[in-house]
Symmetry: C2
Subunit: 740 residues, 2 copies
Amino acid sequence: MDTAENSSQVDLFQIAMSDDDGSQQKNENNGSQQENENDGSQQENDNGSQQENDDITKLSSQTNLEHLKMEEKEEKTANNQTLQNANQQDQSIHPPTGDDHHHDAKESAAKPESNHNEDSSQANINQNGNEENYINDTDLLYAAIMVEDARRGRKGAVMKKMQALKQYQLYFHPLMRFLLYLTITLNFALALFERPAVPGLELPVWATMVMELYCLVFFLLRLLHNRQFVPSAEKFWKDSKSILIIATLLVTVIDMIVYIAMTASGNQQHALRVSRILRPMFIVNFAENRQIRRGLRNIRRTIPKSASVILLLLLCIAMFALLALKLFQSRNLYNPNGTPYFTRLDDSFWRLYVLLTTANDPDVMMPAYDLDNWFALFFISFMIVCYFILNNILLAVVYQNYRSQLREDIAKSVFIRRKLLKNAYNVLGAWTNHHDVYVTREAWCQLLLRMNSLHGSKFRGDTQIHLLWEILDKDDKGYIGLDNFLQVAELLNVEILEVKDQVHYLQRRFPRFYGSKYSVILRKIVLHKFFRYFFDFSILVNAVMIGIGIDAAEIFFLTLFNIEIVLKLYTLGVKEFARIFWNSFDFLVIVSATIMTIIESSQNGWAHTRALLDFVMVLRVLRIIKLIGDINRFQVIVRTVSQILPTFATYGGILLIFYYVYAILGMELFSGLIRYYGYPNGSQPFNQTLLFCGNIKLKGSGFYADRYCGNNFNNLLKSFVLLIELTIVNQWHDILSKHK
Amino acid sequence: MDTAENSSQVDLFQIAMSDDDGSQQKNENNGSQQENENDGSQQENDNGSQQENDDITKLSSQTNLEHLKMEEKEEKTANNQTLQNANQQDQSIHPPTGDDHHHDAKESAAKPESNHNEDSSQANINQNGNEENYINDTDLLYAAIMVEDARRGRKGAVMKKMQALKQYQLYFHPLMRFLLYLTITLNFALALFERPAVPGLELPVWATMVMELYCLVFFLLRLLHNRQFVPSAEKFWKDSKSILIIATLLVTVIDMIVYIAMTASGNQQHALRVSRILRPMFIVNFAENRQIRRGLRNIRRTIPKSASVILLLLLCIAMFALLALKLFQSRNLYNPNGTPYFTRLDDSFWRLYVLLTTANDPDVMMPAYDLDNWFALFFISFMIVCYFILNNILLAVVYQNYRSQLREDIAKSVFIRRKLLKNAYNVLGAWTNHHDVYVTREAWCQLLLRMNSLHGSKFRGDTQIHLLWEILDKDDKGYIGLDNFLQVAELLNVEILEVKDQVHYLQRRFPRFYGSKYSVILRKIVLHKFFRYFFDFSILVNAVMIGIGIDAAEIFFLTLFNIEIVLKLYTLGVKEFARIFWNSFDFLVIVSATIMTIIESSQNGWAHTRALLDFVMVLRVLRIIKLIGDINRFQVIVRTVSQILPTFATYGGILLIFYYVYAILGMELFSGLIRYYGYPNGSQPFNQTLLFCGNIKLKGSGFYADRYCGNNFNNLLKSFVLLIELTIVNQWHDILSKHK
C-alpha cells in the first residue's frame, strides 16, 4: 500500500473541454482508446515512473476546491438560464497535463500471481488506454448526478444534456428544496388561519387566498421546472406524480373561484373549501418525500390483500349481531342511559363493532349479564372468535403483506440504484482490449470532485477520496470493475469521521497551569466514577425535593449542576464534552434553567410569568432524564429508539397527512356544533343556553356527562387533538356519539 | 421397487425369547453376529431366493393382529403386577423361522455403481449378520417405548428393566391418563362447590374435603408410580416437578387440617383455604402437560430479560407524573366526579399508568385541556414517548426474547428426541464387520409390531409398516442407518390415510335404481355449482328473514335445508359426505334445529322453553357460517385458524391457570363485598340498603353509575367473567376502583 502514504494529497487531472454538448470530444476519446487497445499488451510492463508522474500531476487540493466553489456560486446566480454560464465554466478549466502509464506498477505486480490461471490472464487490462481519457464535462456531471441520485435513492430521470443537467442540479438545490418545504408547510398551515381558525390567528379571506395562490404558483413553477429535464414528454405525462399535482392544482383553482363567487353572492353559509383536503397531495407527490410516498403506496397495496380477512371479520360481527338481536330484543332490556338494548340490527352491529375495539367492553354486556349470567358466554365467545382470533389474524395478514410489499419495494429501489450506477459507470469507463469497461483512478477523482461541486456533498476531502479509492480498489489493480463500482452508493453514504487527538484549549494556552498538580488531581476526580455517582444521586435528591415541593433547595441544586458542567468542560474540553449526547442535553437543560430562573427572579411578578414558571418546572424535571443516560442498559434502549426514529418519522408524516384530511373534513362538517363553555359548578348559577356544550341535543348524553365538550372540530389544533384521542381508541364511540 | 407390489403383506419374523431380563440372550446374539462378520463378504453375492423366502416367512396380518390384541387385554388386567403375565406372553410367541440372505439382492445390485469409489465400497455391510438377530423382549419394549416417547415428545426417563418398562407403559396408559385428567379437573372444579360457591352448587365442607382428599391421594399414588421406573432415586429427587408436587401436597394437607381446626374451634370467619391457589401446580407439574409447562417456563424466563425496558417505562411514567404534579397541582382543577386533579404523586402516577393502557384516555386530559388547550401537548408527548414508543419497544423485546427462548426450547426437545431414537437404534441395531450399527428390516417390523401393542398406537397396519420401511430404506439397501432412523419419530407422526374407491351403499344394494336415468340426472344436478349457489342464496334469504323477524318462513327453510342434506347424502354417500367438514357441520346444525323445533312445537308452553327457544335461534343463525365454508378465500382463513388452534389452546390453558389463581385470590379477598340487587327503576320504589351494590362505599362511584355491580368475585364463574373483562382492558380502572 505505497500510495497510502501520500493520502492527504490527491491526483487531479484537469479536464479539457471544447464543446458544451461534448459529443465531438467523446468520439475522439473513444477513437483513441480503441487505437490503444491493440498496442496495450506491449506496454504493460512499462512501469516504475508512476510516483514521479503522480508528483508532477498532483495539484494542491486547496486551489482546486476554491476553483470549484467559484463554480458553485456561478450556478446559484444562474437561476434563469445556465447555458452561457456553463460555457464560461468550461473555458475556465485548465488544459490537461500528461499522465501516461499511471497504474502499471500495481498491474505488473499482480501479474505473477495470475500466471497459473491462463483464462483469467486474458482479462488483463490495457492501462495505457486511458492516456487521453479526458471525460467531457457533460458526461462527468451526468455521472456525478447519477451517483448522487443512487446515493440519495432518487430515480435519476434526467436527459444527458448539459442544460438539462444544470436544471436538474438547480431543481435539487438545497435552497430550492428548502423553498419547496417552506411552501408546502405554508400551504398546510393555512388551515390555521382560514375559518374556522385558531382563536386569534384568523386572517381575512383575501389574505389566505393570496397565500394559497402563491403556493399554487410555486408548485406549478416547480412542475414546469421538472419538465425541463425529464428525458421525454411522454415520461413526464406518464408519471402519476405530475398528473396528480396538475389535477390537484386545477381542482384547487376551481374550488377557490367557486368559493369566491359564492362568498361574493352572499352564499357564505354554504361555501365550502373542499379542495383543502387535497393539500396533502403536494406533500406526497413532490419527489422529495419518497419515504412517505412509499409508505402510502404500501398501505394502499396491502388493503386489497387483506380484504378477505376484513370481510370475514365483518361477516362474523354481522352474524353475532343477528344472534344478539334474536337473543335480547324480546327481553325488554335497557342500557343505563335508558336506551333500548339490542333492539335493532344496525345498532346491534354497531355495538359489537365497538366491542371489537374494546371501547365499550363491560358496559355492552352488563344488562344481559345481570339478567342471566350465562349470557356472558355470548360476549366471551364473540371476543374469542372476533377479537382474539380474527382480529389478530387480520393483524398478521396486514403485517405479512406489508412486509412483502416493502421487500418488493426495496428490491425495486436497489434495481434503480444499480441502473443509475451502471449508467455512471458506462459514462466514466474506459475500455479494455476485450471491450470490458473499467473506471480508472483519474475518472474516480474527477467524479468525486465533480460531486463535491454538487450541493450538499461537501463531505469528501482529499483524504477521503483517496481512502474511498483504496477501499474500492482492494487488490491495488489501479482500476475498478462494475462489481466494485456498484458499491459506490453505499460506500459514499458511510460517514467518515476523522479522529484527531484533540488538545485541550487550556492545555494549549496555559500548559503550566493546566498541568499543575491541583489541576491534574481535579481532573482525575472529575473522571472518577464516584463523581458521576455523586451527581446522579444529587439528581435523585433533587427529584425528591421537587416531588415533595421544597423549592428552597432549587438554587442550591442549580448551582451544583452548573458547577458539574464547568468541571466537565474544564476536564474534557468543549469538543470532547459535546461529543457525548447526554452532556449536550445536560448543558442545554441546566443552562436554560439557569437563564429562566434569573429572568423569573428579576421580574418579580407572578401573574404574567406563569408560563415561564411552568417552563422552568419542565426543565427541572427533565434533568432526571440524564439518569437514563448514565445507566448502560437504558442507554442501549435509547440508542435503539433513536435508530428507529427515522422510520417513526415517516409514519408520523403519513399519520399527519391522514389527520390533516380528516381534520379538514371534520371542520367543514362539524365546526361550531359543539362549544366549550365550562360546566356548572354547583355553587354558582349557570346560563342554561351554555349547557350541553351549547347544543341541546347533547342533553343527557355520555358525551356531556364525561365533560368532552373540549373535544370538537372548531379549529385545526382542536381537531388534531381530537383525532389523536380517537387514535388511542378508548371512548371513541362516546366522542363520536355527538354526531347524532 | 419390486417389493412394493406385495405391499399389503408384511414379512413377520417371530421372536424367540427365553429370558425375561434378556441379558443372556443378548450376549448370544452379539456373539453370533461377530462370528458372521468374518464370512459375510463371501456370502454377499448369494441372492435370488429372496422372494421365495418372503413367501415362506410371511404371516397373515389378521392372525397376528388378533394375537397382539390378546396381549394388550392381558396388560390391561394386569394392573397390580405384570411380571408373571409378561412371562406368559413371552412363551406364547412363536419360534423363529429361517431367514437367510434376506436383502442381498439389492445389495449386489448397488455394487457396480460403487466400484469407482474404493473407499466407500468398504462400507458394504454384512447382511447375513442378522441371521440369528432375535431381539429379546426387554430390549424390544425398551426400543418401542423410546421411539414412542420420541414421537410424543416425552423425555423417556425409564430404567431398562422389564418391570420398570411395564410400569412405564401402565403409567402412560390412556386409562391412567384419563383418570389423571379427570382428577385434575375435579380438583379444579372443587372451587365451584366450595364456599363462595356458584348458587345452587354449594356442598358441605366435609364433601368437598373428601373429594379433595381423594384427589391428593391420587396425585400421591401417581407420584409413587412414577418413582417405580425412574432410572435413579437421585434423578427423581432432582426433578423439580416431583418436588413441587410433593410440596404442594404437603401444603395442601396442612392447610386443610388448619382449616378444619379453625372451623371446629368456631373461627370460621378467618378460616381461609389459601392452598387452593396452588391447585394449578398439579396441572403444570404432571408430565402430560408439557406444552403448558413450556409456555410458562418461557414466560418466566422472558420477564427478566425485558426488565430493563419495563423499568425504563416505569421511570418514564414517574417522570411524567412528577411533571404533571408540578404543572397541575397548584391550578385547583377537579375531575368530573369532584376529586382533585393531579394533586398527589401516587395518584398522578396511577392516572398516567392507566393512561398507558388507554383506559382513561380522554378523561384524564379533559380538565387540563379545558383550562388551556396547550396542555394537550403534555398528554400527547406522554402518549408518544411512553405508549407509542416505549410500550411498543417492550412488546418487541418480549416478543424477541420469547421467540429465542422458544427456539432454544425446541432445539432442546429435538436433542432429547434424537437421544431417545439413538438409544432405540443401539438396542435394535445389528453390527457390521466395521462395528457400524444398522437396523434390519426384521428389527423394524418387530419394533413396529411391539409399538402397536403399546396403547394408542393402533395406526400401523401391515401395509403401513411396509410403506414406512420403503420410505426409510430409500435406496433398497435392506437396512437403515442412524441418519434414516432419526427420522422415524417425524415419520410415524405423519398420518397415513388409505384412500379407497368408495362404492355408494345404494349403488351396491340397488344398482339398477341408483343407476337409472332420473337418478343420474338428480345426482348431476346436486353436484352442479348452481345447486350450491341456490342453497347459499337460500341461507342468505333465511338470514334476512331472521333479521326482519319473519318466523313463519322458518318451517319452509328447515324443510329446504333438510332436503339439501338428504340429496347430498344420496349423491355422495355417507362417507364422502362426512369427509367434508362443512357438510358435517351443516348436518349437525340442521338436524338439531329440526329436532329442537319438533320438541318446541310439541310442548306448546312458552315459559319453560325459553332456553330451548334461544338454542333453536342460535342454531338458526349458525347456518350462516356455512356460507363461509362455501367461499374459497374464507376457507383458507378458516383452515389457517384451525391449524393454529392447538397453539391457542396451550395459551388458553396458561390463561386458565392465571385466571384460576386470581379468581381464588379474589374470592378469598373480595367475595360478598359487592352484590347485584338490580338498579332503581325510577317508577318503582327501591330499598335503600340494596342500593350501591349493597355497599354504601360505592355511593357516587363510577362503578355504581356504570352499573357494574354484576362484576364481582362472589363465585368462581363470576370471577372468571370479571377477569376476562379485565383482560380486554377497557374500563379496568373503574372495575378496580371498588377496592377503595
